[in-house]
Subunit: 379 residues, 2 copies
Amino acid sequence: MKRTKIIDIFSPELIGTEVSVMGWVRTRRGNKHVQFLAINDGSTIKNLQVVIDMAKFTDDDLRGVTTGSSVHVTGRLVESMGKGQTCEVQAETLKLFGTADPETYPLQKKGHTLEFLREKAHLRPRTNTFGAILRVRSTLAFAIHKFFNDRGFVYAHPPIITCSDCEGAGEMFHLTNLNIAEPPRTQEGEVDYSQDFFGKRANLTVSGQLNAENFAMAFGDVYTFGPTFRAENSNTQRHAAEFWMIEPEMAFCDLAGDMDVAEAMIKHIIRTVVEKCPQEMAFFNSFVDKGLMERLEHVASSDFGRVSYTEAVELLKKNNDKFDYKVEWGCDRLSGTGQLHRGNQNGHFDCGASGTGNPAARFYPCQQSGCLYGDHQQQ
Amino acid sequence: MKRTKIIDIFSPELIGTEVSVMGWVRTRRGNKHVQFLAINDGSTIKNLQVVIDMAKFTDDDLRGVTTGSSVHVTGRLVESMGKGQTCEVQAETLKLFGTADPETYPLQKKGHTLEFLREKAHLRPRTNTFGAILRVRSTLAFAIHKFFNDRGFVYAHPPIITCSDCEGAGEMFHLTNLNIAEPPRTQEGEVDYSQDFFGKRANLTVSGQLNAENFAMAFGDVYTFGPTFRAENSNTQRHAAEFWMIEPEMAFCDLAGDMDVAEAMIKHIIRTVVEKCPQEMAFFNSFVDKGLMERLEHVASSDFGRVSYTEAVELLKKNNDKFDYKVEWGCDRLSGTGQLHRGNQNGHFDCGASGTGNPAARFYPCQQSGCLYGDHQQQ
């Protein structure tokens, strides 16, 4: 019998049929007459209830079926009487694939803090929160690729290892295959990088932009989407050592066209994730961020505000008494300290906004107020 | 007037309309009465011919319009009398965006060797060959994402920087932000990596498999698709220092299911690239590999052969006189030296084949005979 993924099992036409499901046991409960398993196979945040009539099974059959173990169940899918679930499987066969020692398996039924799960990186994808985050991340990644692919953008893969040093060596990770304990030396006593793997000093890229710009000068519309590295010794949310970054570059495009693409992309990925991950987004909306869905719907259905740099500075200066870093014409990161969000609370932009006009001003995403985006440079 | 990309311009309904096109000049020729530009905007390998009636333009208007320069042309799209092209633009306006000095611009009309283009990495995407390669690569990348996304695989992004050392330190790139000229030392005189960025020695990943397996134990079906690194000091086609790798991992799947997915993926990406990149594939078929299209069609429409390791060894041993590295039961890379291809010439597998049965045998892609794939390990 062909296996059915749990995400596909909650469809009315399967009711009454024999199904074959595989997954990990989230919980087991019951009594000597009937046992209930909640199993999850990672295809959805929802668990499937399996009902085990102990008249058909022995205690031996269920030995080792504990939280974290993996099982194969076949049986009839029936409508469920239990609240919060539409159907359940009445087990005919049950096979144990792998066990999880109840004494040591860390993910028992109780809730876990994010700090605890931080130390269980190999298991946390099995939790509701990380499972939802990672399925949403995957859905977002595909939505981004689809957005650019549908518009004829060429996906470029700039090299990660580079000998370019475009943003200052202090921020880059250095790569070497020399013996650091005793590196080879030149006659002058310097480290002799000519003996290193690439014959010179190499780094991890801090940006694919240089390559993407070359590609744009050949293909017109291109984008990168890959890992990027910063060796800034600063432990904040803004300074990850390794992160995935999207860098679109467009030839024959002006700033208005650039903002059109950015706005369309934000709306596209919001609509996609709401459509493709309804259970995960409902979970976040209930347990992580109560206004999430309403805010996303609003951003996806609104025209983004557009503001010149000078206008933005004027708007923000009115709130300078609330800011740690005062705003004035010339400062280059308006949202770096949250000003645009706090400025927004005066009602100027209830959705997204993007900026124009300053040669070097950067408008960064601002979670609370929707989205502000870009790294616009005047042309 | 809205710009039309050149890939969209060769459609019958645009004939007779005014169009706006932007691109780079590939060639310019003509006389004092009429000038012809071939322009390309990277959206397709095809150039668009622009006809410039010199009764409407002055020599000054065309100053700087040379190979490599970028232009904006508006005018009427008409059917073309020229052979090999369906339509052309009769220029009404011409604006020069950027110039390319004919004395120094390297990509003049003559053909260039790959060796020459190797030194012009920033410009070679503008050539027919690299343009086609990179558009096909982009199309393949999206086809791979779509294949896995459509099947509910979660796209995992394993870390590139890792402190795991799973395949032997000799093959890994080492990362450090210590001062290599004078690294900090422990009391014992060893390099003190506790003072390095991550507080210990870090490397670039040689495989996302370890993480992908954890993910598979939570999501069932997952894949990775990102850059991977090998510091093998071996300058062959098989040993790139940096390459993008796809690593699918499936829980609750057997080897037959694994081979089904691999075969379906190969066929999917072949069909996609043939459908989405017809011009590029025709170019490769004409100028790079004359049997390409026929071979791809054959692979996409055939059932792949499947062979046990023992059977493969038996088949190959018959050709041991042709092999540099003799085949015998126990050797782990059957295609590493091209044996499977040469064995295939005896007609055993005219399409793809995948292997089963040996605990550690790897079947690698073999371009000439279609495809052999996988890194199957008996379960």
